[in-house]
Structure formats: C-alpha cells, structure tokens
Amino acid sequence: MSTQTEDTKRRDFLKGAVTGLGFGTLATMGIFSYSPMRQFFLPQMVRKMTDFGACKSIKITNISETSWFDNATLMGDIKGAGGLLVNQYVYNWPPFGDGTGLAKGSYEKGIAKIKHLLPNKLDEAWKIIEANSVNPQNAGGFAALIEIERLDGVKKKYLLDSGWSYQWMDASFKREGIDKMLANGEIEALILSHEHFDHFFGLPVTMKYAPNIKIIIPEGFYKEGLQYIKDSGHKGELMVHKTGMNDIEPGLCAIVFDVPIICRVFGEQSLFANVQGKGLVSISGCCHQGIIQFISTAKKELKYDNDQMYGMYGGLHISPFEDWDPKYDDLVIGLAKWDFKSIGCNHCTGLLTAQKFVRAGYPVVQGTARNRSKSKVYLGNGDTITFG
C-alpha cells in the first residue's frame, strides 16, 4: 500500500475521530504515543502571594500623557535613524541635540551643550536644545502624581516619571502645582518607570524643584541614563529595583519586568496598590511587557484584597510582541475575565482600543480632553482618577 492512500485513510479517520480521546482509549485501539518526552513533567509554579499591606485609597493625577504630539513625526525619526533598536541617545532628540542631525548624536556631545545649565536654567537650556535637536516641538512627556492614603489616614505623594520636553513638562508641573509640591518636599520619591525618552529625558524639571528627592529606577538602565541622573543635578538617594517585586510602602509596591523595549531600553517597573476592601490597582507607564503579562504576574506575585483586580491606570500596551494570530488578538475578550472595576487609560493605549473598551462595557473613566489630550476616552492631561 502506498503512503499516499495511507495518508488519505488517516485524514479520513481523523475527520471522523472523536476528539479528546485519552491515551487510554487510544491504547485500546492499538495506538500508542512514543515520545522521548513522555515522562517529562513541569513543576507547578506556586502563587507567591506576597503580602505588601494595604492602603485606604489611591488617587492619580495625570500631569501629562501626551508623550509626543505628532506620531508621524516620531515615526519618521525612528525610521530615519534606522529602526526600533536604535539607541535613543543617538537620535539627536531633545535634550541631547548636538546640531549634527538625525541619528548622528551621542549622549556625551548632547549633554556637553547644556550640562552647565542643569537643573536651574532650563529655559536657557531649552533654547540651546531647540537650536540643536531634531523636532524639539514634538516632544511632550509622560508623568503622573500618585497620592496614597494610608490606613491611618496619612497621605503620601509619589511622582511617576518626569516627562520629556523641559518646556512642556515645566508648564505641566506648574499647571498641576507639582513644582510647589516638589519644592516643599511633599513628594516622597520620583519613581521612573523606564528609561524611555518620554518618561525620563525631562528629569531636570523635577531636579529643578527637588534635587534631593529619592529616585527609584528599575535595573537595566544603560550607562548614559545613569550619567544623566547625575548630570541633571540629582543629589539625593538613587535606588535600583531588581527584577521582580520591590516594596515601596505599605500597600504600594513595584514589580520590575525585565522586558526589552524599543529604542534600546531594558526593563520597566509598574506600580501596584492594594486598596483595602477593594482590591489591586495597577499603575503603569507604558506597560511594555503587555497587559496580560502584567496582570498575570501581579496575580502570581501579590496578595490583595478580595483577590480582585480592581483598577488600572496608564498606558496599556496590549500584546506588543505577537504578530501572527489574529484569532486570539482580541484584547477585549482577554481583559474581560479580570473583571476590572475602574480603568483610566491613555498614552500608548490607542484611541480605538480605548473606544473598544467602552463599547465592550468596561468601566472606563472618561477624561475631559483638555491640555492637548486628544479624546475623552483617554484620562487626559490634568484629569484625575481615584481608586477606593
């Protein structure tokens, strides 16, 4: 008998085969599965469920979510410089422009032009930056103020990220009163989610008001980034969070994901708050690790009230690496099973994605579309959201 007819017979048999047959049933038919792996088993990962305490409530003020204003311009820069893996310090983006044009810069040459003006003379620095950088007016930035109310009613503030453009971020800080909070020492620490230009390059704006503030970064910063923290005039403590879970204060922790990100950046930390009686609230910069990954890691690592994923704030990359399976790319279905009670999304989420959330009946907290934020489905610049 030729293999051809045997294949056809097989096909025919498979079409009619009852699926889900156990190996026992197959054995009665004389079918056995030989595999070198047949004894192989994987150890079950246990949910660590680390108890990191609880807080009464958490309020987030969106200082700025508009990282850049024109996507096509940014795209053009990235493409023109050679693609997604090009080191962010060579673009000649603000503030590290050295006047040589796209993709010809370096951290050293760029900082040399403005270092003497940091962090106090930012207006003067920005003039130099505008003259030497690629598309300086396209820069915006991402930053958020986190106010946590402890169980005893004491409130503490943290700053998440410091944006990109000195000019835009200084104005945004002033709009939300962040400048005064920093100057008065009201903010416990600046938490940098990751090294990306739009979250990190505006660091001197924070330093201008609070050079002694504690800075918390995830491991994986490159040497240019570490040098920039020094060159920005930082005089306080620098704390590096290791991959995995890191405590910040009761009810607030960070998880560092060792994820590679475009423009040669590595590692992103997201924040998690356990709101008493409600559940877990996640706060992310971009969520480059992907939203499903982000949530499932939290589930694995953390203990939180009611075992409930309660809320979510920030930029939500949905499934950033996958590119091949249309059928399962439905983020709306993917998110439904977590039963979130309150979602504030913006930044890199995508407006259509946010609109889909709304259509799918998710509890998306709408914004006001002020201060150059583009749509009400985004929790926009100057908008706030409170969990608990």
Partner: protein, 603 residues
Amino acid sequence: MNIQALYPATFDGTPESFNALLRTLLIRGTYDTVLKKITGYKGMYLYQQSKECWTVKFDNFAGIFGILFAELHEDVGVFHLYYFPSPNESMLDKFSLAEAITAQDEAYLEKVREFALHPALFRQFHIATLRLHVSIQNQSLWLFYETHIRERVYAKEGVIDPRSEEKSYLIEPEGLDKDLPSFRLLLPLMNFLNTAITRMSLCTPSYFKLFKASKASVAYDSIGNFSDVKDGASAKILIALGYGEGDFIELTERALVGHHAEVVHEAMSLNCFLQKAPWYDISDDIKQLSTHTVVQNKPKLIVVTGFLGSGKTNFLQNYIEYETEKNRFVGIIQNEIGKTGLDGKLLDYTYSLVELDEGCVCCSLAGQLRMGVNTLMRTIAPDTIILETTGVANPFNLLAELHELEDIVDFEVIVTVVDGVNALYLYDEFRVFKDQIRSADVILLNKIDQMSESQIDSVKVMLEQNNRCAKIIPTVQCDIHPNLLHNSIVASTSQIASLISEEEKNPETKSTHVQDGISSIKIPLSKPLNREKFRDYLEKLPKNIFRLKGIIAFEAEDNQYVVQYVNGVFEFVEQQSEQCTETFLVYIGKNIEKSFVQNPCSL
C-alpha cells in the same frame, strides 16, 4: 562576546535567568525588521501565568513553534523545542496518529498558546532539545541543538481502523506511524535564534561543529511495548555552537556522552549550507548585521477600494492602530483631492498622507504613485503603504500599472470594502462597484451588524458570483486584524536546506511539501486577439498558472473585455465603450517565467 548585549539585567545562572535570556531574545527579535526579513520570524506569544512557555511563528510554516525551559542540568539550561502542526497541513501526516488525534481537538490551537499546561502537548510534538551554557566570567555562550533527521515510530502489528467491519488498516503492520522530519522543522527556529544572537551581540560564532549519530527507530506492539528498530533514516543531528572564548570543546563532549556521534565534515553539503547561514557567514557585509544600519526595505503596498460610505476610513483607522501597536508604520496615499479620509481629531495619529491628483489617475497613475511612494519613503519610510482609491479609476487599470512599481513596493493585496446594507442596490446601479468586487483579493463585507442573516447570505452569493477567488470576510466597522489580509507564500532557504539534508540521508524519500514561490508577470498585448484561439489558449494553460487577469480586445469588436481566469475557469466581461486602455494580461502562478508563457498575440 558581550552577554549584556543579549540580556542587560543580571544573569545569575538560575532557571529564571535562562528563561529571561531566551525570552529577551525572542522579544527583541520582534523589533528587528531586518532579522524578521532574513529569518521569516513573525513574532512571539508570551504565556507566563502559572507556567511559562513561548509560541512563535515563521513564514512558510502553517504550524506554531513552541519553546519552554525544561530543566537546569548541572550548569546547562535545557529547553525543549516543539512544532504544533496546523490541523490542516500535510505535515500533520508525518506526526504520529496519537499526535494527529490530539491536534483534532477543537481547542487545540488555543491550548497550544499555553502548551506548558497540557501534557498531551508538551510530551508530544517535540522536535529538538536546545542546551544553553552562559559563562559570565568568560563572556561566552554555548548552544547545542539535538534533533533527528527523521524521527520514526513503527506500529509493529499495525493499527486497525476501529470503524471498519472488515479488517482495514490505518497503518499496515510494520508500517510507519510517525515519520517526522524534525531537523527540517528545527531549522527556522535555529536559524532565528542563532541569527538573533549574532545580530544583537555583533559577534559571529567562534566555534561550530556538526555531528551525526545513528539512532534506532522505535516500534510499538499492540499492547504498547516499545522496542528499538534499526533504521538508517532515523539518525540524529547534533549542532554545537559557541560565541566568545569558552570551554566549548568540553561542553560539547559532555553533551555527546551516550551518543555514537561522528563529526560531519566541513566539506559535506549540509555543513556548507549552514555555514552560509546569516548567523555564521561574516563574508556578507558586516554592516548588514549592525542594528544601526538604515534599512530601506521595500514597503508593502495595500490597495483599498470601496464605494463611498462603505467604511474605508474605518478600515484605515483600525489598520493603523493595529500596526502602531506592533511598532510598525503606515503611510497613506489617497487619489482624490480634498477628501480627508483620516481626521486628525478622530484618530490618535496624524498620518503621513500623500494625495494624488484625481484628474490624472487614468493616464499616468503609475507615475503619480511612484512620486507618492517616494515622498512617503523620504519622510517616514513606512512599512506599509495603503493606497486608498475612490473608485474613480477602474481597479483593473490600477492592477496593471501596479506592476510597474515592483522595484519600489511589494504589492500585497487589493482589499475591497463593501457596504453590505446597500450592496445589492449598488450592484445594479454602478459599474464601478462591480469592478471593485471583481478586482479584489479580499472583500470585507462590512456593516453586517445592520443586516439580517438572509441579507448577508444573498450579498455573499452576489460577491461569490462576481469573484470566485477572493477571500470574503464579514466585518463590523471594518475591524479586522491585518494578518487576515496577507496570503503570501515564498520559498525559504531553510526549506531548501532541509531538503538537501533529507535527500542526502534518504535518497528514496522525495518531499512533496515544497512550497514554491508564487509570482506574477505582466505581458502587454500588442493587438486584438482571436476569440476562439484565445479560448483555446486559456483551456490549455499550464497548471502552474492559477490566476490570470487583464484587459483584452477581440478582433472585430469595439469594446474591450476584462478577462478573469481562476484554475481553469474563466470569463470575459465586456467593458463600456469609453473605457479603452492598453491591453495586457497578468499571470499569477507557481514558478512562472516570461520565457515559459506564450504571448497570446502570437497565436
């Protein structure tokens, strides 16, 4: 080599570090368009809930590849590599019957994404093992792949079809239950991993050895006793690779214990082939390996047609957002002045948009398009260019001219958006609407949320009558995943490599699974054709031409015709008299070359 270039965080030799290193490689690979192009890598899915595993996909393979970390053995991380065949592909027949039955499970593809949870998946479908050793002290990396040229399992007493009343065998006694070309399946994955390491570390392997080891095949009897069977075809292939300066010889010797391995000499064709691989061959411009090189890949061109109000703008918006999420860039060309398809306020992104002058569409479209494409490439160099037509131009004219742009774009697909609610009315009223349907590769039957089942059915019938070869996809607000539009098939070097190796070992086996390149050529027609002779010509077209489109004129007839030919079936559609253009034919088929196609003018 610099290990930090591969994994910038701390590598401490724990299972989690090994996981993280390989995961990082897979993720960074998704950002590298050149790497994707040379290795056919389509991206990965990360499953990391109660257990961790990754699934990845490559061009030309219908199935899904899987990787998981299995164990730490001494200081070597051991990964299992899998291939989960698509339930429809012919490769499934090469897997064992038990595996093939597993693949019939309705939830099979869903389970594959989290295969680490399912013993029936991770204990079967195995194609290779990868051992990894990292030395931080030496800054060196050692990889060792172990696979079969063919993995064979025999059913000693055969397998009887349980449905048969007479004794009918599914597998004849002493027949092959499994005959898997594991090495061929490993190749794309190995090629990707090695090339990714080479590109990211800017370092080529300092150590490379290829071994083969004889390996008995396995046979089972009717009660499930397994025994060894001597079988020349089922040899193992072992590939050792070192980056940097490490104890590679010792590591390799350790890994070879228990195998009767012999070195495959460098002169052997397989060895030669692998040494030309992108991860090994440094004679190729090293700059090509640098991530700093500006890569001017040809963008894909997608043509979108559709009547006014059909939902083209929705299509564009969805497409752009999907692509942006994947860090890919889209440029748009519109051929009508003043129509703002993309409203900056409505959409997150203001997109690079080039508008063509409507008045010139018919006469010099190709020239206009070339200018538009060049403008976009100068400004944002998009990965995809979408040409949004407004239905003014005859899509068939467009198709003809698009082939003149082959040097600057890869023509991907014509998408026609159809307003389902008004389709039957538009069909009766507008010639251009019919042409849009007829020219499509993919038809989006949009607005199905506003249609009844019977309406949908009748529109589908109309669409199928007018275009037998288009893929029809029902949509609401044109929300469709871009990958559903793609249907390209290209031959890959990895498959060629596997054929060399299999044929070397196994001269009696001829693979029937080669996917040859599909291409198209355009032939201009210098004069009207004889209707009868041309019919005859079409009826005798060689089988490797499966599609033909074009505009033709017949002797002694004023009007021109659109000809559509699909797998032996063809039709001529008469054009209105004012639509007189140059005549041409476009042939689409397998391995076609101009010299093989007879110009019908010479009939």
